[in-house]
C-alpha cells in the first residue's frame, strides 16, 4: 500500500488537493501568488532582455522563488522517474482514438515515436514540440498566466479573468486535439 503510493499512479483525489494546497501554503509563507509560466519571463529577462520593457524588471527579486521552484520540479520529476511505475491507466476510448491517428501505444508519459530527438526531426514532431512550445510560451504570457496561475490560483481566487482564460485554454486545446492533431499525425502533412 505504502510502496504503491511511491510507485503506482495516484488517483485524482490525492493529487488534486495536494496541488491546490500549494496556493494557500505559498501565500502563508511569502504572500506570493503561485504560478509557473512567469519563470519563462524571468529566464528571458535574465538572458536576452534587449531593450524590451516587458523584460526590464528585477527578475532576481521577483523571480528567485519561482525559479527555485522550477529547479525543484525538475528534481521531483527525476526522483519520480527513478522509481518504477506501472504507468497511467488511460481510457480505452482515448486509446482507440489515438490508434486511429497512428499513436498505437499509450505506455510511458509521451508518445515514444514523437517526443524524442529523432522524433523532433520529423515534421509532426517539429510542429508538436517546437510549434506547441512556442504557442504555450506566447499564449501563457499574453494571457498573463498558465494552468497554475489561472486555472488553479486564479479560479481559487474566483477571478472572472481567469475563468475567461481557462475557457480559452480549452477552446485552443479542443481545436488542437480534434482538428490539428488529426491533420498533423493523420498524413495531412
Amino acid at each position: 500500500m505504502i510502496m504503491e503510493f511511491f510507485t503506482g499512479p495516484w488517483p485524482w483525489y490525492v493529487a488534486g488537493p495536494l496541488i491546490g494546497l500549494t496556493v494557500p501554503l505559498v501565500y502563508l509563507y511569502s504572500g506570493r501568488k503561485w504560478g509557473i509560466s512567469s519563470t519563462l519571463r524571468d529566464v528571458c529577462a535574465a538572458t536576452l532582455p534587449r531593450d524590451l520593457e516587458y523584460f526590464r524588471y528585477s527578475w532576481r527579486n521577483r523571480g528567485a522563488w519561482r525559479l527555485t521552484m522550477a529547479i525543484g520540479l525538475v528534481i521531483g520529476g527525476l526522483i519520480a522517474g527513478l522509481m518504477t511505475t506501472t504507468g497511467q491507466p488511460i481510457s480505452p476510448a482515448t486509446q482507440a482514438d489515438l490508434a486511429a491517428i497512428g499513436i498505437s501505444s499509450v505506455d510511458g508519459l509521451v508518445p515514444a515515436e514523437i517526443f524524442t530527438w529523432s522524433g523532433l526531426a520529423t515534421l509532426p514532431g517539429f510542429i508538436m514540440i517546437i510549434g506547441g512550445g512556442f504557442l504555450v510560451g506566447f499564449g501563457a504570457r499574453y494571457a498573463n498566466g498558465c494552468t497554475s496561475g489561472h486555472a488553479i490560483s486564479g479560479l481559487s481566487a474566483l477571478r472572472v479573468t481567469s475563468l475567461v482564460a481557462v475557457l480559452g485554454f480549452f477552446a485552443g486545446g479542443l481545436l488542437s486535439t480534434h482538428v490539428l492533431l488529426p491533420l498533423i499525425l493523420g498524413g495531412g502533412f
Binding site: 499512479p9 501554503l25 521552484m69 508519459l109 512556442f134 501563457a140 494571457a143 494552468t147 481566487a157 474566483l158
Partner: protein, 170 residues
C-alpha cells in the same frame, strides 16, 4: 524598482492589483529559497505520479473520456479557494510578513488577452501535451527533448515581449 518599470495599464494586473493588508516594509523578514525547492520537488513527484505530465492524460481530458484531469484541477481549485477564503476571513499574515498578493483584477470586456492569449496557450497545450510546469517535470523524468520545447516556449515569451504593444489588451 519593480514598481517603476511596470506599466500599470499592462497585462500584469495580477502582479499589481492585490488585496490584503500591506505590512510595514521594515517588518518584512528575509525569504528563504529552500521551501520553494521543496514545493517544487513535491509537485514534481505529484505531477508525475498523477499523470498531470502525461501527454495521454491531456488527450483524455480534451476528448472528455476521463474524469481524471477534471478531478485534479477541480479538487485543486476547491482546496485553493477554501484556503484563500480562510486567509481572507482570518486576515492571516505571511510568515515572512510580506503582503499577501491575492489577485483582485476585474474583467473588462472584451478582455482580448485572456481569451485570445488563453486560446493560443490552449492550442500549444493540445500539441505539446504539457503546460509550463510539466515541461520542467518531463525533462526531469528523462524526456530530454522537452529542452527543445522549453527553448521554444522561451522564444514564444520573448516574441510576446517584443510584440505586446501591438497586441490588443483588455
Amino acid at each position: 524598482m519593480d514598481q517603476v518599470t511596470l506599466n500599470p495599464a499592462s497585462a500584469d494586473g495580477t502582479d499589481d492589483q492585490t488585496a490584503g493588508i500591506k505590512p510595514d516594509p521594515a517588518t518584512i523578514r528575509p525569504e528563504r529559497l529552500w521551501p520553494y525547492l521543496l514545493v517544487g520537488v513535491v509537485l514534481g513527484i505529484a505531477f508525475t505520479r498523477s499523470g498531470v505530465i502525461s501527454w495521454f492524460r491531456i488527450q483524455e481530458m480534451f476528448r472528455f473520456q476521463s474524469i481524471h484531469m477534471y478531478g485534479i484541477i477541480g479538487s485543486a481549485v476547491v482546496v485553493g479557494a477554501v484556503g484563500i477564503q480562510l486567509i481572507k476571513r482570518l486576515e492571516a499574515r505571511s510568515v515572512t510578513n510580506r503582503p499577501i498578493e491575492i489577485p483582485t483584477e476585474t474583467f473588462t470586456a472584451p478582455g482580448w488577452q485572456y481569451w485570445l492569449g488563453g486560446t493560443v496557450f490552449g492550442l500549444g497545450w493540445g500539441l505539446l501535451g504539457a503546460c509550463p510546469g510539466p515541461i520542467y517535470v518531463l525533462f526531469g523524468n528523462g524526456v530530454t527533448v522537452m529542452a527543445a520545447g522549453f527553448l521554444s516556449a522561451l522564444a514564444g515569451v520573448w516574441t510576446y515581449g517584443a510584440l505586446r504593444h501591438r497586441l490588443p489588451h483588455s
